[in-house]
Symmetry: C2
Subunit: 234 residues, 2 copies
DNA sequence: AGGATTTCCTGATAGAGATCAAAACTAAAG
DNA sequence: CTTTAGTTTTGATCTCTATCAGGAAATCCT
């Protein structure tokens, strides 16, 4: 074994249900597993993919978290996504065969590397895999369009509440606590993503704490009143 | 012939290059054509699909234009997309097998109806079709994420300029004039989509006209200085 | 550990765009 | 052709959040 993580397979991966193997049987998982490489862990601030680089692989997050962002004409970063375990990175690049955004680790993270051409061949033979690819892409289309609605016509407090609720839901899907979690991104990242200034994020987190809806201690968030928070998000 | 439009086929459709048949050969187009139904024209204000309805078909726009929107908990409409000829409607629903948004005609429009199950079977056999489906979905992911960046951290004028430029580009792709076109949506629709009030849209269109960048007369837009407009969009 | 750097918080001010209000215009319907 | 409903425009005011500024806390690095 050249790789200390080579004992990890789709068949025993806890994220399988969210990831590509969803609904595949044991044999299907085994076949998918053969084309997937376990990527060495990447460290905080490391960049996984650069915008413009040829798209050879999709990446599935095994552990940790990352952010994707573009850089506009003025050199300003615009965060478009935060990735958690089970998420697949790179779908936005399929149409042009190159990555359309940068993806950077927010903490030490483990990834699976999925060669596109092999995946295409496999999808031809496996209807379940094909359907799951459609599901994942479709879900990404839906969530990003829903986010549009969230950002438009909503106050700063509603946006932040929505962000916290959505994160909680995502952690729950992954078998983690939806009541308390750690933010791996900075306040500036959250602000950038939601179209708000750092100061506004900080103020609103403080307000939500004063109102007893959440507890915040640095990166740690505890949701005290989930229902009220959900109401605030509308 | 029971249908006055039954002589229209993918093989002679002017939108084929933007739509599903992209890169298919004559035989491929013919096969795709057999599963596609020509839908009867729908009138302005008619609703093509309701959010929550089971997703049996995708729709390709042949002519006309439509808007897609969700309705939030407060009953407020949130427009998430405008569809032009060649666009495929319904990808956001694949993940849950039901439509996630309402789609309404902005003017009399012609549509092609594509049964999902038949499309899946065809995609299994035709790598080119499969790849085009991926392209279209991937493109939709990219553009909606890019729009996020456009709405965040941008002024009202930049948003409107971006909207006008993007529309011009889309018309150009479709072989229409990118210099002058007709807006089929209301100012209120544009505002809703861009997260701005009707009044702001109206004021900014007036300003752009005063500055000589565009001419607006009711629904008709003429772009006088494309480069300056593009600059304004950043 | 100790200094350096980044991140976070809080206050004060200003400005972009929402909202309120009303009139002018356009399109649809009788 | 007249009426009516919907859309667009313009003006005045107000509010939310960006920006500027300073300091506190946390984290990184040697």
């Amino acid at each position: 074994m050249t790789n200390m993580t080579s004992h990890i397979h789709c068949q025993n991966c806890s994220m399988a249900a969210l990831c590509l193997p969803y609904q595949l049987d044991q044999e299907g998982m085994a076949r998918l597993d053969t084309i997937i490489q376990r990527h060495k862990p990447i460290q905080k601030r490391d960049i996984l993919v650069h915008a413009g680089a040829p798209l050879k692989f999709l990446y599935a997050v095994r552990s940790g978290s990352l952010k994707s962002y573009t850089i506009d004409d003025n050199g300003v970063e615009q965060i478009i996504d935060f990735h958690l375990p089970g998420d697949v990175i790179g779908f936005d690049g399929l149409s042009e065969n190159e990555h359309r955004s940068y993806t950077q680790a927010l903490e030490t993270s483990m990834l699976c590397e999925i060669p596109i051409t092999a995946l295409d061949e496999l999808a031809e033979q496996m209807p379940g895999l094909r359907r799951q690819l459609w599901r994942l892409m479709s879900g990404e289309i839906f969530t990003s369009k829903q986010l549009l609605g969230t950002l438009n016509n909503r106050t700063a407090q509603q946006r932040v509440a929505h962000f916290l609720v959505t994160l909680a839901e995502r952690f729950k899907e992954r078998g983690l606590s939806s009541r308390s979690y750690r933010l791996t991104m900075t306040r500036a990242d959250i602000g950038n993503y939601l179209g708000l200034s750092v100061e506004t994020i900080s103020r609103i987190l403080s307000n939500l704490q004063q109102e007893g809806v959440i507890e915040v201690q640095n990166k740690l968030v505890e949701i005290i009143e989930p229902l009220r928070l959900r109401e605030m998000a509308q």
